[in-house]
Symmetry: C2
Subunit: 401 residues, 2 copies
């Protein structure tokens, strides 16, 4: 038990509405006899040696965050270079901390892996465990990551209702382009179609980064949708690029590109080509922070994944990430397992699989149980037109012109 | 009863999440022996003679919309000129419709009043009744309008949670500017402070159209907030203008200015003056359409206000709007009364009263019961710092130096 006596835990990357639940789960799972240090503001706290020892009272404070969005230790983005990684290991060493646990996404799992390697080369024993978190769901080696389902829920309900608003405004405004998060993967944008149950219902088109959008066919397709429906509700992931072009970046901060703006470019294109009134909007930070849109199942899983990390820590596991593995049994069932950080790193960013792109119904069957009871439909009686299969227009973009 | 035999009902202006509830309330309140016509797409339907007779089956369809956002008859914006008003009266006359009911805001009440006047001058008997609706709450002669409380709820929760996200990201991003709807009035922006219960909590500043923002003091104030808190969460109403400048318009469609963009201008100003990482975002259409953020009290009131219109119609009232009048009794109580359309018109757009601007606590006491049970707080135990009064920074903008 000596090795785990002192433990540092941190949160990194964009927060989610349930990342604090994972932290609380982790803390609840720890045995009594440990000294817990909170790493402030992500990797920055490792490098600047900003770590705070938790006593009984600050642990109480921490546990109050199970239902609070954001990251209560501070998260943020930080360019964690090789030199700084050595500094981080030295800071842990100075405090005699031999266990490091971080809650994060791809970048965090890579950082933990590098910390392990650096520590090994410095002959410093360091146990590392990663707890998965990302609204983008682009983390490999897990069925899904905590945070995603709540964000997917927010996106799906927003798009459903914004489309209803547009239906009413058709004499004033014909096209809405709704931009979602997701970085290079289409998981969140695809979730927008979850509530589409009636023919003609929005979203009428979903654009995902996995498929580049060719301008000319895109314009024609929107024109046809408006011809058929009077309006077009289009969902676009921030990571989508026009064919031959590149992703639209808001800015680059701390060496990391912040995506955003493709919906504005699409708005300009459609306005000039079709002469329609087009509005683009970005669903914004609510996607990852709206506590009131949290899926109760996501919230529960986030907590359990944290608790599992504490269990594996006690068992001496190292260089692993907790993985949610869904079983094939009837209904929704999953096991929490460990996967090597190296495997997560090698598999890299996880895109929407081809099978979900070609069979959206399979994707929605996969998604719905993650949101669970929180799926709030319009009144059961409500049916605007006849039920139909989702028209997944985006597929046509693959074939340019 | 003959006069009310044929009734036309329509919805106008920007939809809300509860405007259909008012329509259903109205329909539920009607006696059996009426012929109901739905006016499609707001005033446009009156002018283009797009009215649909509701039979039993389409009434069933209509009633399914009690819990569906948007406006199921079609709403939209339309330049309703004097000539077109005459056309509208003639269209009603051709159908022998002597009662016109519209659900809408200031523009709608003015339109109804003009329809009345036009009909009188044409010797055509026309009974008109207005049902209030606006997320902006800028409608006079009523304590509040259905639609506002749900939008206020959306804004307050969004800002509360987005601020928590920013707290976690302070090493990456220091300022967020969140733009709300509201047109020329600050009701919705002010609602953003509802959940501010702890010292240092966001929003740290609220900018409302009632007070012009002087650039230099604004920049200094944001700088001070960041100095004190590490971050600044700023809420700005779309109707805010910089001192000496004018409101920022997205565009002008059908003769109506669509506001939007002040948050982007503020972002640019703060980036260049303070060198901080600033993000502006617009809460968008969700404010008026998010069914899942609907206040149950707002939803109920919207329904009741519609039903009351049917009652007044039967009683022969004309040229009136239904008004929600709050009583001074302990607790939340209100009566539904009628007010002359002319009074609504004369009072004009309703701004935030000076007393709410100087005493935000009074405003929040007024607002909270409108949201009712839907006020979801962070876990009861959760307290980040000591409770305090809202720092209503915006007040300082009044004094430009």
């Amino acid at each position: 038990m000596n090795r785990m006596h002192k433990i540092a835990v941190g949160q990194a990357g964009g927060p989610t509405a349930v990342i604090n639940a994972s932290l609380v789960g982790f803390v609840d799972g720890l045995p009594e006899n440990v000294e817990l240090y909170g790493v402030m503001n992500g990797y920055q706290g490792l490098v600047l040696n900003e770590m705070e020892r938790f006593d009984r009272s600050s642990l109480e404070w921490l546990k109050q965050h199970r239902g609070v969005p954001g990251a209560c230790l501070g998260s943020g983005r930080y360019a964690f270079t090789s030199d700084l990684i050595v500094t981080a290991v030295l800071n842990l060493k100075a405090r005699d901390i031999h266990t490091l646990v971080f809650i994060g996404g791809n970048g965090t799992m890579a950082a933990l892996q590098k910390m392990s390697e650096a520590a090994a080369s410095m002959n410093y024993e360091l146990q590392t465990i990663g707890i998965p978190k990302t609204v983008d769901n682009d983390l490999s080696a897990t069925d899904h990551a905590p945070g995603y389902a709540s964000a997917a829920h927010f996106v799906s309900m927003s798009v459903r209702d914004i489309n209803k608003d547009l239906e009413a405004m058709r004499n004033f405004e014909q096209v809405r382009i709704i931009e979602t998060m997701g970085r290079n993967a289409g998981w969140l944008a695809m979730a927008a179609g979850l509530h589409k149950t009636c023919d003609g219902d929005g979203p009428h088109m979903i654009c995902i980064p996995e498929l580049a959008v060719a301008k000319e066919p895109f314009v024609r397709q929107v024109q046809n949708i408006v011809k058929d429906n009077g309006i077009a509700t289009i969902v676009v992931s921030e990571g989508v690029a026009f064919e031959g072009g590149s992703q639209v970046q808001r800015e680059v901060v701390n060496g990391r590109a912040v995506l955003g703006g493709i919906s504005t470019e699409m708005e300009q294109l459609l306005r000039s080509e079709l002469g329609l009134n087009v509005r683009s909007e970005n669903l914004g930070m609510n996607q990852r922070s709206a506590m009131w849109a949290v899926s109760s199942r996501d919230h529960q899983e986030a907590y359990e994944v944290g608790k599992q990390a504490a269990l594996y820590l006690e068992k001496g596991y190292s260089n692993v990430m907790i993985s949610i593995q869904r079983s094939d049994a009837i209904g929704y069932n999953y096991d929490l397992k460990s996967v090597p950080l190296e495997q997560v790193f090698i598999l890299g960013e996880r895109m929407l699989p081809e099978t979900f792109i070609s069979n959206p119904a399979d994707f929605y069957s996969w998604l719905e149980p993650l949101i669970g009871d929180q799926v709030r439909r319009y009144p059961p009686a409500w049916k605007r037109r006849k039920p139909h299969d989702l028209k997944y227009h985006k597929l046509e973009f693959g074939r340019s012109q």
